[in-house]
Amino acid sequence: MGVRTWIGSWPVYRQFTGDDPLGRGAAAKSAGTERIRARVSEADRVVKSVCPYCAVGCGQDVYVKDGKVTHVEGDPDSPVSRGRLCPKGSATLQLTTGSAREHRVLYRRPYGTEWEPLELDTAMEMIADRVIDARRRGWQWESEDGLRVRRTLGFASLGGATLDNEENYLIKKLFTALGAVQIENQARI
C-alpha cells in the first residue's frame, strides 16, 4: 500500500476531500463495512406474510434461503405498518426458528410421571378413537326437560386467536357436526 493510498483511506482525509463533509456517509465507511452484506440480500425468496402477534396486522417479509427462514422484517408496502415491527414482531425469527420449539409428539400416559415419544400417525389414531368414545358417552338426545338437543358434552375445545380463519372454519365445522357445543376461543377471554 502506497503512502498516498494509505492516507487516502483515512476517514478524515476522505471527509475533507470527498463529497461527505459531515462524515456521516461514505467517508466513515471502512473496507470491512463495504464487505458486509445484509443477511436478507442473499435470500433465495421473499415471502409475503403478516405478523402473528397482535391484531394490528403488520406486514412481514419472510426471507428464505436453502429452504430455511433466515430473517423476518417489516413490509414497507403495508399501508397498516409501513415497514415497522414492534419488539414482538421483531422477534418473529426466534418464534419461528428458535430452539424452544418442540418438533416431536409427546405423550403422557394416565398416572405417568414423564413424557414418552409417540408417532404422529399413532397419536392421530388414538385421538380419533378418544373423540368418538367421549362423544358417545357424553351424548344427549334430549335435555333434562325433554327438549331435543342432539349433542355431546363429552369433549370440548378452546382455541387461541392466532389461528387462521380457515383453521377456525374447520374446527367449528367438524366439531359442530360431531355434536359438540363447548367450542370456545380466546375471543371470549
Binding site: R45, S49, V50, P52, Y53, A55, V56, G57, V62, V69, V72, P79, V80, S81, R84, L85, P87, K88, A91, L95, G98, A100, E102, R104, V105, R108, Y111, W115, L118, M124, I127, A128, G138, W141, S143, L147, R148, R150, G154, A156, S157, L158, G159, G160, A161, T162, D164, N165, E167, N168, Y169, L170, T176, A177, A180, N185, Q186, A187, R188, I189
Partner: protein
C-alpha cells in the same frame, strides 16, 4: 395503545403532529401517557361513571350533534309505558327477577313494537315472537305480528317517554362531582376532557375512542362499550372518518375467530347457534332470529347457504337444509362453564389449540383442576406451555394438593406449525383479512391446525363409515373433501377460503352476500366474508403498496363486508346524501349517476337515493329508507337505548366490580344484579363488600394488563430470548406511598393475596401508579402484567391465579380488570404453607361460599 399496539400507534402520532389532541384514560401511566396531551388516571372498574358523566355533559350543555341524532338514531323513539329506569328502582331496571337473577326484557321494548337485535342475545325474544307467530297463523292472518308497524317517534325530542328524555333523566346524576367521587378524577380534569372531546366533534371534526379489550373484562363489560357508543352517537362520531369506537384487539386473528367463530353461541357470520325449543323447525328459528327490516331480514339466505357449505347435497328443502343436524344449546357453554363441567366429570376430553388456560384464563387453578379431571387432553402449541405440563410441575404439585401419580389425564402434546409454515388468512382488528403465504415446509411432527383438523375429521369419518346410527349422520354427510398437496398432505387453505366465500349453483365463486339465496342454490361458509374470493381471486392476498393508492387503501387485503373499510359509512353524509362537511367527506350520493360513491366502498344499497321511502309492507333490506345508515339494525338507526339484545339493561349504569373496596354511591344496587356467577366452588370464593366485616382484609384494587415485550399469557413470547431479556420476570407496579405503607422495597419481592390465591412478584415502585382519592378515601392500586407462568425463559407467577370467575352476563367474559387484594413484603410461602396463607386470609375476612353472591 403505544404499549400494546405500538405500530398502530404511529398513526395516532401522525394525527398528533397534525394538531390532534390525545387523551389517555388509564389507571397506570404508560408509553401512551408519555406521549398524550393529558393522562387521566382513574379507579379501575369506574369507566361507566366516567363515560356516563361525559354523556351527561353533552346532554346538559347541548353539545350533541342534533341533526345526526334526530336523523340517524333512536333518540326520538317513544318507549313502552311499562319501562322503569334505574332512577325509579334504585339502580335496577324493570323486569328483574331476583330469584332467577335475570331480566324479563318485555318492558324495555319500543311502544307497540318488538324489535330484534343486530347482535347479542337475539334468542331472548324467542317466546313472545314465536308464540305470537303461532297465534297469527291460527287466525289465518298469513304471518306473524312481529315487529309490525313503525316505532312512534317525536322528532322534537320532547316527549317524556322518548329515548332522548329517558337518557337525560338516566344520566342526570352522573355529575362531575359524582365522577370525581367514583373515579377519583378531579372535577376540573374531567371537565377539561369533556371540553376537548366536544370541541373536536361535530360536522367539521370527529373524535375516536380506542380501547384495548380490557373494557370488556368486567361484570359490566358490554355496558362499558355501550356507554362509549351512546357518547359517540350523540356526538355524531360513528360511521365517519376519524370517528368510531375502535377495539384494539390483541391477537392476530381474534376478530376472525369471532367472525368465523369458535364460540359456543355463534355460527359463522354472527348467526346464533340454535337453542333447544319445543317444536322448533327452520321456519320458527328464522322467524325468531330475523329482523323485519335491514340486512338481518335476509338471515334465511345466509343460514341456508351455510348449511349447504356444511352438508352439501345432503341439505335439502325437505329436511330443512339439515337444520336438525345442529346441536342445541341450553344456556351457556362458555369456556368457564366448560371448566366447571370438567370438574363435575361431564366433559371428558379437551382440545387446546394454541391456547394456554393453565395461566392465561381467569382463576387459573380452576382451569387446572378441570384439566386434572379429564380423561384426555390434546395440546397443540410451539413449546411446552404450562397447559401441557401442569401435571408434573403445576402449582398444585408444589402445594401437595395434587400428586402426579394420582392424575389420570392422558396428555398428547402435538407441535404446531408457525405462520411462516402455512398458508392462511388473519383478520385484523379493523376487520381486514390478510393472507400469509407458506415460506417453508413444517419439519418433523410440526403441522398446521388446518392439517390437524382435516386429518382428524378424515380419520373419524373413516372409523364411522358404514354406521347406520342417526347420531353419526351429520359427520358422515359433512362435506369434507378438501384437496391436499405436498409431502405432508396439507389441505389447500385457499380451497377452504373459497368455501367460506361461497359458490353459486354452477360452482362459480360469489362476489357479494346480496347474491345469497334461501332456496339452497348457493353455498357460503360465512356470509359476511362473501366476496373475499370474488372472481376466483384471493382478494385477501392483494398487496398494492399503500403509497400507490388513496388513504383508504382499498386494494390492500380485503375487509368485510364487501371491502368496506368504515362500517355504517352512510352516516358520513347528511340525510340528503351530502357530506356533513368537505373536511370529513367519505361517501356521498351522486344524483347524476344515481349511485353512492366516495373514497370508501359505500356501506349502503348502492342505488338507493337519500330520499327513498320504502312501501309500508316492505321487509328486509327493501324496508331501509334512504336515510337509514345502520343497515344491520332492525330500524336502521343507531341505538342510544337498546330495546332488545342485552341481558343486563337497555342503558348502562355504574355498578361496582364484584370485589370493590367501595360502596356504590349512585344507587342502592351495589353490583350488576344479573352478573354471571358460575356454580359455587371452594377455589372461587369472593371477597366481602365494602362496609361488611372483613372487607378491610383486601383493601387494595388490583388490575391486570400487558407490556410491549410480551404477548398475552406468554406462549409466543416467554420462550423468545430477546423478549425474555427485555422483560425477564413477573413484577407488580406500586406507588411510593403504598410501598412506604407496606414496606415494599424497589427491586425486592412482594406477596399479593386475593380470596383465591397468593402470588409473588418483583416490586417496581413508581409514580406511574398514582394513588387516587375515591369517595374521600385514598385508594392504592396495584398493577399486574399478566404474561407469566413457571415455564419458558422469562418466568414468574401468573397474575390470573388471583382472579375470580364473576362474568359479564352477555358475553361470559371474566372481570380481569378490577379485583380486591392485599399486598405484603417478601416472597410467598412454598408448599402447603401457600394454601394455608390464602385460607388464613379468607378466615380473617369471614368469607363463606355465600360471600359476594348477593343479587
Amino acid at each position: 395503545m403505544a404499549e400494546c399496539h405500538p405500530v398502530g400507534f404511529q398513526w395516532v402520532m401522525e394525527a398528533k403532529a397534525r394538531g390532534a389532541k390525545l387523551v389517555h384514560v388509564d389507571p397506570r401511566f404508560t408509553r401512551t401517557s408519555a406521549l398524550a396531551d393529558a393522562h387521566v388516571p382513574l379507579r379501575a372498574g369506574s369507566d361507566i361513571a366516567f363515560l356516563g358523566g361525559m354523556v351527561r355533559y353533552v346532554l346538559e350543555n347541548d353539545k350533541y350533534f342534533r341533526d345526526y341524532v334526530v336523523a340517524y338514531t333512536n333518540a326520538s323513539v317513544i318507549l313502552s309505558e311499562d319501562f322503569r329506569d334505574t332512577e325509579d328502582l334504585d339502580g335496577v331496571f324493570s323486569g328483574l327477577d331476583r330469584e332467577k337473577r335475570t331480566y324479563d326484557t318485555d318492558s324495555w321494548q319500543y311502544e307497540g313494537m318488538n324489535a330484534q337485535a343486530a347482535a347479542g342475545q337475539r334468542d331472548m325474544q324467542w317466546e313472545p315472537r314465536v308464540s305470537e307467530a303461532g297465534r297469527g297463523e291460527a287466525h289465518g292472518s298469513g304471518g306473524a305480528g312481529i315487529g309490525e308497524g313503525h316505532p312512534q317517534r317525536d322528532p322534537s325530542l320532547e316527549h317524556p317517554r322518548c329515548v332522548f328524555q329517558v337518557l337525560k333523566r338516566h344520566f342526570a346524576r352522573y355529575t362531575p362531582e359524582m365522577v370525581e367521587r367514583i373515579c377519583g378524577v378531579p372535577k376540573e380534569q374531567f371537565l377539561k376532557v369533556c371540553e376537548m372531546v366536544t370541541e373536536n366533534s361535530g360536522p367539521e371534526r370527529t373524535t375516536a375512542f380506542a380501547y384495548a379489550v380490557g373494557w370488556t373484562q368486567h361484570t359490566v363489560g358490554v355496558q362499558y362499550i355501550r356507554t362509549a357508543s351512546i357518547l359517540q352517537t350523540l356526538l355524531g362520531n360513528i360511521g365517519r372518518p376519524g370517528g368510531g369506537i375502535l377495539a384494539l384487539r390483541g391477537h392476530a386473528s381474534i376478530q376472525g375467530s369471532t367472525d368465523i367463530p369458535t364460540l359456543f353461541n355463534l355460527l359463522p357470520g354472527y348467526i346464533p347457534m340454535p337453542h333447544a325449543h319445543s317444536n322448533e323447525d327452520l321456519d320458527t328459528f328464522i322467524e325468531a332470529e330475523a329482523a323485519r327490516k335491514g340486512f338481518w331480514g335476509n338471515i334465511r339466505a345466509y343460514f341456508v347457504s351455510l348449511m349447504k357449505s356444511y352438508w352439501g347435497d345432503a341439505a335439502t328443502e325437505d329436511n330443512d337444509y339439515c337444520f336438525n343436524y345442529l346441536p342445541r344449546l341450553t344456556g351457556a357453554h362458555s369456556t368457564y362453564e366448560t371448566s366447571m363441567a370438567q370438574i363435575a366429570g361431564d366433559c371428558k376430553g379437551y382440545f387446546l389449540l394454541g391456547e394456554n388456560p393453565a395461566v392465561g384464563s381467569a382463576n387459573a387453578k380452576i382451569q387446572r383442576l378441570g384439566m386434572a379431571n379429564l380423561e384426555w387432553l390434546v395440546v397443540r402449541d410451539f413449546s411446552l406451555i404450562e397447559s401441557a405440563t401442569w401435571w408434573k410441575d403445576g402449582p398444585e404439585i408444589d402445594t401437595g394438593e395434587m400428586r402426579t401419580e394420582d392424575i389420570g389425564t392422558e396428555v398428547f402434546f402435538l407441535p404446531a406449525a408457525a405462520h411462516t409454515e402455512k398458508d392462511g388468512s388473519f383478520t385484523n382488528t379493523q376487520r381486514m383479512l390478510q393472507w400469509h403465504y407458506k415460506a417453508v415446509e413444517p419439519v418433523e411432527d410440526t403441522r398446521s391446525d388446518l392439517w390437524f383438523m382435516y386429518h382428524l375429521g378424515r380419520i373419524i369419518r373413516e372409523k364411522l363409515a358404514g354406521s347406520s346410527e342417526e347420531m353419526d349422520r351429520p359427520v358422515l354427510d359433512l362435506t369434507w373433501d378438501y384437496p391436499t398437496e405436498g409431502p405432508l398432505d396439507e389441505p389447500d387453505a385457499e380451497a377452504v377460503l373459497a368455501e367460506i366465500n361461497g359458490f353459486d349453483g354452477e360452482g362459480n365463486p360469489l362476489s357479494s352476500y346480496t347474491q345469497l339465496k334461501d332456496d339452497g342454490s348457493t353455498s357460503c361458509g360465512c356470509w359476511i366474508y362473501c366476496g373475499c374470493y370474488a372472481d376466483g381471486v384471493n382478494q385477501t392476498a392483494r398487496r398494492k403498496p399503500g403509497r400507490d393508492q388513496n388513504w383508504v387503501a382499498p386494494e390492500w387485503g380485503w375487509a368485510w363486508p364487501m371491502n368496506r373499510r368504515i362500517i355504517y359509512n352512510r352516516a358520513s353524509a347528511d340525510p340528503d346524501g351530502n357530506p356533513w362537511s368537505e373536511r370529513k367527506a367519505l361517501i356521498w350520493w351522486d344524483a347524476e349517476q344515481g349511485t353512492w360513491t366516495g373514497h370508501d366502498v359505500p356501506d349502503f344499497i348502492a342505488d338507493r337515493p337519500p330520499d327513498y321511502q320504502p312501501p309500508e309492507d316492505a321487509t328486509g333490506p327493501d324496508a331501509l329508507a334512504g336515510d337509514d345508515p345502520f343497515i344491520m339494525q332492525a330500524d336502521g338507526k343507531a341505538w342510544l337505548y337498546v330495546p332488545a339484545g342485552l341481558t343486563d339493561g337497555p342503558l348502562p349504569a355504574h355498578y361496582e366490580p364484584q370485589e370493590s373496596p367501595f360502596t356504590n354511591p349512585l344507587y342502592g344496587q351495589q353490583r350488576n344484579p344479573v352478573r354471571h356467577l358460575p356454580p359455587r366452588h371452594p377455589d372461587n370464593r369472593y371477597g366481602p363488600v365494602d362496609g361488611e366485616p372483613g372487607a378491610d382484609v383486601y383493601p387494595f384494587v388490583a388490575t391486570t394488563y400487558r407490556l410491549t415485550e410480551h404477548h398475552t399469557a406468554g406462549g409466543m413470547s416467554r420462550w423468545q430470548p430477546y423478549l425474555a431479556e427485555l422483560q425477564p420476570e413477573f413484577f407488580c407496579e406500586v406507588s411510593p406511598e403504598l410501598a412506604a405503607m407496606r414496606n415494599l422495597e424497589h427491586g425486592g419481592w412482594a406477596t399479593i393475596v386475593s380470596p383465591r390465591a397468593v402470588v409473588e412478584a418483583r416490586v417496581l415502585v413508581t409514580e406511574r401508579m398514582a394513588a387516587l382519592v375515591v369517595d374521600g378515601r385514598t385508594l392504592h392500586q396495584i398493577g399486574l402484567p399478566y404474561h407469566w407462568g413457571p415455564n419458558g425463559y422469562s418466568r414468574g407467577d401468573a397474575a390470573n391465579e388471583l382472579l375470580h370467575l364473576s362474568l359479564d352476563p352477555n358475553t361470559h367474559i371474566q372481570e380481569a380488570k378490577a379485583l380486591a387484594c392485599d399486598i405484603r413484603p417478601g416472597r410467598r410461602p412454598r408448599g402447603p404453607a401457600a394454601v394455608a396463607l390464602v385460607r388464613e386470609y379468607r378466615e380473617r375476612a369471614g368469607i363463606t361460599d355465600e360471600t359476594g353472591t348477593e343479587v
